[in-house]
Amino acid sequence: MLTNAVRVVSVNNLIEVRNLVKHFEVSGGLFSRNKRIIKAVDGIDFEIKAGESLGLVGQSGCGKTTTARSLCLLDPKTSGDVNFYNSESQKMESIDEIDDEGLRQFRRNMQMIFQDPYESLNPRWTLKDIIKEPLDIHNIGDLKDREEAVIEILKTVGLTPPQNYLSRYPHEISGGQRQRVSIARTLIMKPKFVICDEPTSMLDVSIRISIMDLMLNLAKELNVSYLYITHDLAVARYMCNRIAVMFNGKIVEIAESEELLQNPIHPYTKRLISSIPIPDPNYKRERYEVNYDELDKIISNNPDKKMIDIGNGHFVASHDTKGFFIET
């Protein structure tokens, strides 16, 4: 049974990322005037349709989180375009060109769920204040409306009865409950687009699935799109319609989840897939070996960022492969 195939994925793009670049300058040492540039995100393209979830998968340090932070305007991007669908004017607008009102609109529709449930809630605030903070910031409704909205959303995320949670502090509830509060806080504004930065990786196995199911159900109900960041392909497969594989700041392969797992083409994707442990003692995994240094050299020697379409919405980076994989 496929869980999220039933979700309605519209034809319209909700967000388009075009050639997004984020470089960090690092000074070369105490006496050196040279500055080294770290290319954390080096020209990536993807788009997410309304109601769709895209998984962004890669090892730590590959630029997943930097992408997310640039997208939600936490850190300014170096260059590139991010276009967002404005539901009022009904067209795509670049976030560099919109006015203040457009920016407000954008922020209302964009939220982020963080990895660490222990750090992502202000320890000095009650859960009620935490959850209704977005409403306070955007001045939506009067106090009574906001309180009702909080109670409503607490029920939605399965923290019942809500009265038991309103005046608690984050340290008084468990990790799974905290992540539910994070989700409640995120969804209270009914955003269109939510970035999830490994929201379940610090939770226990038995709780993990209930949080993932909750997110899937809410996505269906509220028609939310996710950009789901994780290093675990098994989780990405469960959560996402499509998966993008990132390596050293670039997207090397992007396809429908099942297509990517059944038919991986890029050597890095193959390596990633072959390193996922299988919960079956009889299954013998074969590791697919890749020389990262060589791969990195090949990629950086080929600045061409074109992706090759191999059908079924499956795209692979087109750098020269020297026997690695397909030629066009």
Binding site: R107, M112, Q115, D116, S120, R124, W125, P134, Q163, R168
Partner: protein, 357 residues
């Protein structure tokens, strides 16, 4: 409405639980408890005095710490001490005048001939039933002075600590939050204040202006607030600033001011409170030093009591006039120590890594 009432009740019980848990943690620290008992003792002392006056148990004329006076007299035999020792009556120079005797050469204010018996004031008088810590050389009750002194210590300590920590919390958080030039300026400023030697600076200030107790509180608070604690509070604020909950407020579009006041400041507050308790100690000690040097325009304080004992020479007579020196000296020591120990206890509540279990 029922829900709302229910919610309030839950909130109340949760708050009570949190307080009792923190109290339990604090109680675990034995030093902290000792400190709290000491501070509490002095607090009782300081509020006891006005109560005693208001209820009329103590009469202002006798027990007022500044202008109170009580006539305590005793009969003395006037003698003339010989030039050479030993004589029949006295063996050494220190034996003259003996008990209930007075040397005629030290009789400046009253008349009398050798061999006569005259009535003289007995000041400073040792502890007695009426004056449990005796009186000073002007006939004022020492116990009442100690009580007055503890009022001064509390007022000064808490006033200057609050002011100082207020300043340093505000500046430290602003420096951390905005960074760049604001940060650089504030840090250089605090380096500068740290470089200034506090006591000599206070001498100079007191030379130009008459320092009253709240003047001193403001000066001490400002110097403390601009100095080293800014740096510590800044480093704490820097840690809070990068927490995901701050990011998530930013993503939603929260303004800098809102994030500063509702996210960063509350999370710096426990550290600030700790600083406050510790800086009370410094303020009380500075006050004692300044009034001991006679640089404060102040009616009564523990430092002043020791100052008076010193200028009148009682401090050099060993422990013969102990009630003029020890009560005031021990009060300063114990109250500053008490506040320090309370700080240590609070540290254990706020710093989970110091907890034993």
């Amino acid at each position: 409405m029922d829900n709302l009432k229910n919610e309030k009740e839950i909130a109340k019980s949760l708050r009570r639980k949190a307080i009792s848990k923190n109290w339990k943690l604090f109680k675990q620290s034995r030093l902290g408890m000792v400190g709290l008992i000491i501070v509490f003792f002095f607090f009782i002392l300081s509020i006891l005095q006005p109560i005693l006056f208001l209820t009329g148990i103590w009469d202002q004329g006798t027990y007022n710490p500044v202008v109170g006076y009580v006539d305590q007299t005793q009969d003395f035999l006037v003698v003339e001490c010989p030039k050479e020792f030993p004589t029949e009556k006295y063996e050494k120079r220190t034996d003259c005048p003996g008990r209930n005797e007075v040397n005629i050469k030290t009789l400046f204010y009253s008349d009398g001939e050798v061999g006569e018996t005259i009535q003289l004031n007995l000041q400073p008088a040792p502890p007695s039933r009426d004056h449990i810590l005796g009186t000073d050389s002007l006939g004022r009750d020492v116990f009442s002075q100690i009580m007055e002194g503890s009022q001064v210590a509390f007022l000064l300590g808490i006033l200057s600590a609050t002011l100082g920590v207020g300043i340093s919390t505000l500046l430290g958080t602003i420096a951390a939050f905005f960074g760049g030039r604001v940060d650089a300026y504030l840090m250089r400023q605090s380096d500068l204040v740290l470089m200034l030697p506090t006591l000599p600076l206070l001498f100079i200030i007191s030379a130009f202006a008459e320092l009253k107790i709240w003047h001193l509180a403001v000066v001490l608070g400002t110097i403390g607030g601009l100095g080293g604690s800014v740096i510590t509070i800044k480093s704490q604020a820097l840690q809070v600033k990068v927490k995901p909950f701050v990011d998530s407020a930013r993503i939603t579009g929260g303004s800098n001011m809102k994030i500063l006041f509702s996210h960063v400041l509350p999370n710096v507050a426990p550290l600030a409170l700790l600083f406050m308790v510790f800086s009370v100690t410094g303020a009380i000690a500075s006050e004692s030093v300044l009034s001991f040097l006679g640089l404060l325009n102040i009616e009564m304080s523990w430092g002043l009591m020791i100052y008076l004992a010193q200028v009148e020479g009682y401090i050099f007579s060993g422990l013969k006039f102990w009630w003029l020196i020890l009560p005031a000296g021990l009060s300063v020591t114990f109250l500053t120590g008490g506040f320090y120990l309370v700080g240590r206890g609070l540290d254990e509540v706020f710093n989970p890594r110091l907890r034993k279990r």
